[in-house]
Symmetry: C2
Subunit: 151 residues, 2 copies
Amino acid sequence: MISKKTKYGLQAVFYLAELYNKGPMLIADIAQNRSLPKKFLETILLELNKKGILHSQKGKGGGYSLKRNPNEIMVGEIIRVLEGPLAPVSCVSQTAYKKCEECMDEKACAIRVVMKEVRDAISNVLDRQSLAQAIVKRNYFLESSIINFTI
Amino acid sequence: MISKKTKYGLQAVFYLAELYNKGPMLIADIAQNRSLPKKFLETILLELNKKGILHSQKGKGGGYSLKRNPNEIMVGEIIRVLEGPLAPVSCVSQTAYKKCEECMDEKACAIRVVMKEVRDAISNVLDRQSLAQAIVKRNYFLESSIINFTI
DNA sequence: GTATTAATCTACTAAATCTATAGGATAACT
DNA sequence: AGTTATCCTATAGATTTAGTAGATTAATAC
């Protein structure tokens, strides 16, 4: 299960993606709009800023906005910044490989074989799907559920 | 990343899978053989026992063995017992659905749409792969790496 | 250049979870 | 009855999570 921090960050980023090109948004406004704890969100957005996902502007008229087009930011990027590697075990991570401490023989590890497949499966979803695509998909489901309701 | 508890449990279960039909194994032997902390392993195996993965026998000649054939135990089962639901967010879990606390409107959630796909991708790997299959796959890789080495 | 605005930084804390270990109870076998 | 091995409950230290407080820095407006 992903942490609240990651969920909050994703919520904020999706929010900014929907308002892309509408100018910077205040932390306070994002927090209020999405019902997120403001101070906590502050540290999350700061991290996303440092990792090149967001752009910030201080002072009046300032705030946060996406640094790149929502079409060019993959959901996996956000997850990696906030949650860490996608891989279920560090020994199959592509971006942050590390031998498992307790592992005696990596080659002879059945867990590793399975988890490699899991990592790839997760990556195939998260690294191929942009923020924009996710929103389109969400809107499609939302749309069809409204139609079902009104008929 | 999965916890050490889950890794230890998987190691033990794979070990028992390889020794299926060779009679019960002692916790102490499993722990020594796989270099796992014995007392911790004890609580892990107990949990797997209660959830119907393992069979135990007390007294002399006793120990632990798989309750079912390694072909019939999916890796996903073990993960669910030790780590919890496969889903990255509880609102897309098939086995343990629960509305996310911080969520305002599930239908309008872009995170949910993406994470549903992730859950399915993970499940497609873990719920279709038995302990026996994973071991066969591991042996195949091991085999071919030995061949590469000896040539 | 001063006031205002809004992000940045440091540091701290409460609560929960993880990683174990201790020690006695229970059951099975000899 | 004695031995063996799992079962059960409790506990404790370390780490992570979730969040807050308060001062600092930078940009803008006047």
